[in-house]
Each structure stands twice: as C-alpha cells, then as structure tokens.
C-alpha cells in the first residue's frame, strides 16, 4: 500500500460563508421570513432616508441673514445660523458673552478632567467643581462682585439657561438626596416617615405641577417683603423634585452594600456618621454614578418644561423664533436643531453611564 503523507493544502472556506455575502446570508436572509422582513425594512429605509438626507444636506441652505437666502428648496438652516447667538446665550448682553464663555470653558475642562480616567487628583478636582466652581460661575454669569455688571436672570436663556438649570438642579439635589435616602433607611420612625412622605409626594406628581407650585404658590409662602427671582423659584422646584428621585437612586446604592459592611463598621466601633461617611457612602456613591447620570439625563430633558412658566430655555427660544413673522414656517428646522443639541448631550451621557456600568461592575449584583 502506498502511503501518501502529503496532505492536500487547506481549502479556503466556501465563498458564500465568508465576507459580505456570508454575513448577509446569516444576518439578513437566514430564513424566508427574514428575507421578506429585510426587503420590507430596506425599502422603508430607502424611501425615508434618501429624501431626508436630500432635505437636510444636499438641498439645504446654510448661510445668510434672512429667509431670502433659502432658495434651494431643502432645509433652511439659515434660521438657525442667523440666530445662533440667541440659541446659545438667550438675551444676554452681547458685549458680555465672554463671561458666559469662560464659564462654558471651565465647565468643559472640569467635566473632561472628571470623565477621563487617568486624571490625577480627581478628588480635589471634584471638590473644586462642586464647591468653588459654582461660586465663580455665579459671579461671572450674574455679576455683582469684582466690578462685574449685573445681568438680571430674565436675560438668561438658550443653551446657557438649560445648562444652568440642569447643573444647579443636579448638584444641589445630590446632598439633599443623600440625606433623604439615609433618613428613609433610618431606624427613627419620625425621621423615616418624614422622608418617605417627602419622597413619595414629589415622585407622585408631574414636574409641571411642581413648577406651577414654585411659580404661583411659593410667593405666598414667604414674607411679602422678600422678592424671589423667577429663575430661583424654578430652581427651588426642580431641586425639590429632583432630590426625591436622587434619594431613590442613593437608596438603591445603599441597599446594594452587603450587610457585612455595616456590621464591620459597627464592629470597628465607628458611630453612625463615621461608618456612613467612611465606609458605606464612598462605596454606594461609586455604584450610584450610573444612576446619577441617568437622573441627570432625565433632568436635562425636563429642563425644557420651564418654558411653560415663562423662562426662555433652548426650546423656548426656538418657539419664540417660530412666532417671529420673519421666520414663519421653519418649525421643522428649529425642532430638528434643538432635538439634535439635546440628543448629543443625552446620548453622550448615556454612553458614558453605560461604560461606567461595565467598568464599575464589582460583581455585587450577580
């Protein structure tokens, strides 16, 4: 018997199992039903996407200062570009834009420093961002000290106001939320019931009614002599509302800490505040970051509701622009632009929170 030890060379895999064809066969046309679905979905995509792209980019007009510049028949982005300053700064005096810009720049640097993983001294940066930065930002935006001209809050608007509402809302709601969550898990019945009632009331009503309450009822609650800024009233409402949601996020974090940790803290002889501050909360807060980011996303979207009580956030500026007789009929462009701005912020944050969730997965859950 002749023994042939020469192996035949490996053949390449069959053509229709690799490359684009193989991929399509497996993912798009694996069964008759799948093929039909693919064809229908592909057709629907084709008839909706092609005109949309044509409208938004190919036939669009970008530059100009009035509607006469829109001649191509597609989207009229001139409506946006001509008013871009208003969308960003609201009615802030033009010569003082630099003050807002400094705040924007500081904010972006701080956020970047906190988000990037390898930044050193993160603790110090976080404390600076939470304690010093708000003071600087207040004096820059509102003025008052250091020879800065005062800009009344009714001139604030646009993206700037949206960011102020969201950032102040979340930063102020965080400490209240932590206190409420600790109170809800407390052994003291009076403390516990107060906290439960507070949380459940705010979580059970819509934000609009809270804003209405802040704008029409709050002035009745305080002495007549004290006048209360409209923006401040809205912020009080938002913080109350948001701290209830924050409390539930924190409660989730506290519950996820194994019981052994509480017992260990007690065994070491730490009192309540020390065991919370040194052992429980640092761990819980770390676990809560994705939840906090999600609350922040919800809050960021909810800031658009302030237009109902007459503040000019980004969405309200667009609404106002649409009722300008010079720009009637460009509502789609306006909404697409605002939707895009909100989407970029919210989508970015949600991606960040998902990345964090993967990174911080310490195996407590499973």
């Amino acid at each position: 018997m002749i023994h042939n030890d020469n192996k035949l060379p490996d053949l390449p895999p069959p053509k229709n199992t690799t490359g684009i064809i193989g991929w399509a066969k497996e993912n798009l046309f694996s069964s008759p039903l799948n093929s039909i679905l693919t064809i229908i979905a592909g057709y629907l995509l084709y008839i909706s996407l092609v005109p949309a792209i044509e409208w938004a980019f190919v036939k669009a007009d970008w530059l100009g200062d009035s509607r006469e510049a829109c001649t191509s028949g597609g989207a009229c982005w001139v409506f946006i570009t001509a008013r871009l300053n208003q969308f960003i700064y609201g009615f802030y005096p033009e010569e003082l834009y630099w003050r807002v810009n400094i705040v924007f720049a500081m904010f972006s640097v701080l956020v970047a420093a906190l988000v990037i993983e390898r930044t050193p001294y993160k603790g110090w940066i976080a404390s600076f961002a939470l304690i010093v930065f708000p003071v600087i930002a207040f004096f820059l935006l509102y003025g008052g000290g250091f020879d800065l001209k005062i800009v009344e809050t009714h001139k604030w608007g646009g993206l700037m106001l949206t960011l102020v509402l969201a950032v102040v809302g979340i930063v102020a709601a965080l400490p209240f939320g932590i206190l409420l969550a600790l109170g809800r898990r407390s052994d003291m019945p009076v403390v516990k019931s107060f906290c439960v009632i507070f949380i459940e009331i705010w979580r059970g009503v819509p934000l609009i009614t809270v804003l209405f309450m802040a704008s029409v009822m709050l002035p009745l609650f305080i002495p007549e002599e004290v006048s209360f800024d409209k923006l401040l009233r809205a912020l009080v409402g938002i913080v109350m509302f948001q701290s209830a949601y924050m409390a539930e996020v924190v409660r989730g974090g506290l519950q996820a800490i194994p019981k052994g940790q509480y017992e260990a803290a007690k065994a070491l002889g730490l009192n309540y505040w020390k065991s919370m501050g040194l052992i429980i909360l640092p761990q819980a807060l770390k676990m809560m970051i994705p939840g906090i980011v999600n609350t922040f996303i919800a809050l960021f979207k909810d800031t658009s509701l302030v237009l109902i009580i007459g503040l000019f956030d980004l969405l309200a500026i667009v609404q106002a622009g649409l009722s300008d007789p010079k720009w009637l009929g460009y509502s789609v462009e306006g909404y697409v632009f605002v939707a895009f701005v909100f989407w970029v912020f919210c989508f970015g944050m949600s991606q960040y929170s998902q990345a964090l969730e993967r990174k911080l997965d310490t195996g407590h859950k499973s």
Binding site: G204, V205, I297, Q319, Y335, A339, C346
Partner: protein, 395 residues
Amino acid sequence: MPENKHNLATGNVSFWNDPAKRSLVFQAILFLAVFAVGYIIYQNTQHNLESRGITTGFEFLDAEAGFGIIQSLIPYDETHSYGRTFVVGLLNTILVAALGIFFATILGFLIGVARLSHNWLIARIAAVYIEIFRNIPLLLQIFFWYFAVLRLLPGPRQSLELANVAFLNVRGVYLPSPVLGEGFSWVLAALVLALIVIFFIKRWARRRQSETGDQFPVFWASLGVLIGLPFIVFLLSGASLQWEIPELKGFNFRGGLTIIPELSALLIALTIYTAAFIAEIVRSGIESISKGQTEAARALGVSPGKTLQLVIIPQAMRVIIPPLTSQYLNLIKNSSLATAIGYPDLVSVFAGTTLNQTGQAIEVISMTMAVYLTLSLLVSLFMNWYNKRMALVER
C-alpha cells in the same frame, strides 16, 4: 442592641451617649422644626392672601366657569361650574393616559422584541429608534408633532380621506361614529355573558387537563364564544347599529367622531417616547432568561411559539413588571405636558384656566397634585398586586 441594654442596666451612662434617648431627642427636634416651618408658611400665606384679597376655601367650585373647553367626555358648556371643569379635565387626562399606555405597551413590546431579532437590519432599526426617541425631550416631541406635522396638514376642503368615511385635516381626524339603536343593550349583555362563559370554560379546561391530561383548545373556543354570542344577539335584535359619517358642511366637518389634533399630537408623542423606554425594559427582561431555558424547552420538544409563551414570557414578566409600572406612572405624569399645546387635560383646564380666573392657587394646585398622587398610588397598587401574583414562589 445588647450593649445599650447593659449600659441602661448599670445606669451610669450620660444622657447624650445613650443612643435610644439621643434619637428620641433628635426626632422631637426634627418634629418641632418641621412643625415650625409649616406654621411660618401658614402664617405668611394667611397674611399674603389677606393683603392680596384672595378668598380661601372651596366655594369657588360651585361658581360658574364661563369658559369653553374644546373637548369634553361629559356634557359641558360655559354655564357649568368650576367643579365641572375639574371633572372634565380629569376625564381628559385619564383618556389620554389610558390610550397612551395601551399604544405604548404594544409598540414598546414590538420594538423590544425587534431589538433582539436575528435579522440584523430589523435589530439595528429598533436600536436606532430607541436611541433617538429616548434622548429627545418629550415636550420637544409634542411640539414637533403638533406644530411641525399636524399644523401642516391641508384644510378641511382638501382633506386627506379614506374610503370617503374617514377624513384627516388640520382641524383633526374625523371618523364615523356608531349610533346605537334600541336593541343594542342586549348585545352588550351578550358580551358580558360571553366573558362569564369563557371564564368557566377556562376553569373547566384546566381541571380536565389536570385530571385526564387532555388539552382543550381554550383560545379558539373562547374566541368563538366572544365573537359568536354577541353577533347572534346582534342579528336577533335587528342589527340596530348604524354609523354616522362625517360630512363637509360649510367650513368644517359635522357629525361623526372627531379627534382633535391636540389629542393626536399628545398621544403620538407619548406613545413614541414611552415605547422607547418600554422596549429597553422588554429587552432586558427577555435577556435575563438564560439561554439554557430555551434550549431545554426545545430539547423536550416544545415548539418555539409555546417556548416563548410558556417558558420565556412568564419569567421575563417578573423582571419587566416593576420598571414597566414606573413607565406607566411616568406616562400618566407626562400627559400633563398637554398644557403646552392646549389639550384640555387636568393641568391645562384646572391648574391653568380655572386657576387664572379664580386666583385660588393653593386649593387648585393641591387638588391637581392630589389627583396625580392618587392615580400614581392606584396604578402602583394594582401593578404591585399583579407583580405579586406573577412573582416566583420560593420556599
């Protein structure tokens, strides 16, 4: 706490170092503080109301409202009272919330399942849908549908029409409305009877299956009873159902059923927005069931459809229901955004117009908040009950 007992027994611990007494003192202080703040607010409010000449109390509910509402489920006109406006607004809120929950659940489940489809294109489209719509503020979406889409529809004369019975134009959707004849109550009675019969068929079939092992086609039998019984009665009672078709008279359509554009815009936006969240909940629920369960069911010879129906869905529901409840609650609360486009819901009619006309902010806002609190509590009670029924029974 044992160490405290020891201290108490020996009695030589100072007052401030005894946790039990300290917490009592702390609670008393907190109670007094809350009480004091409440009292100060009460005093201020009394003073402010007096100096502004605002009356208090709920007498205003009986006064004549004097304003019209564009949609009411119960008879209403300007001569009715403010109390009536409250009911009209409440019913409109319940209407849009119920319809919204219904449509959002269906769309959400569809998209959640599509997101897990083996078809790459379908799964991608579902994912893009979710990422787009949940990251855009709901209010913006409502504005978009109302101002950018429904406002651009043609006027009544150039209405889009379907088979000459349904019409769509800038004033709303016009559909034929059923006109119930005399014998129609018998049909309704037959429907109720059919439901009762189905209940007993189900019980009988389950008992028979556990005794003999024979299966009974419950679904088809129930469907037959549900459709057949009322239909027979309907024919017997003389087919007393007619349709009133909307007609173009003058500048607008008359007759039929009108869905105002405010309701359509709100409903479309609420459905699309909430469905994106529900889809994610459904996906995580289905993904939480380990693949081994599907494989085991298939190995036992259970068909894919039955696997989904009997193995996957019941278990996934346990993961799905609690977050789904929160989404329902969110939808109910979000329906209050109606006020921004003028759909006459509770917030718009009562906390808006009625508040502006009477100035009685405290009563009106508290009533509005109380309604939402009650609705929230009712829905979560029901869903918790349902959740408990579905929950895994352990030990």
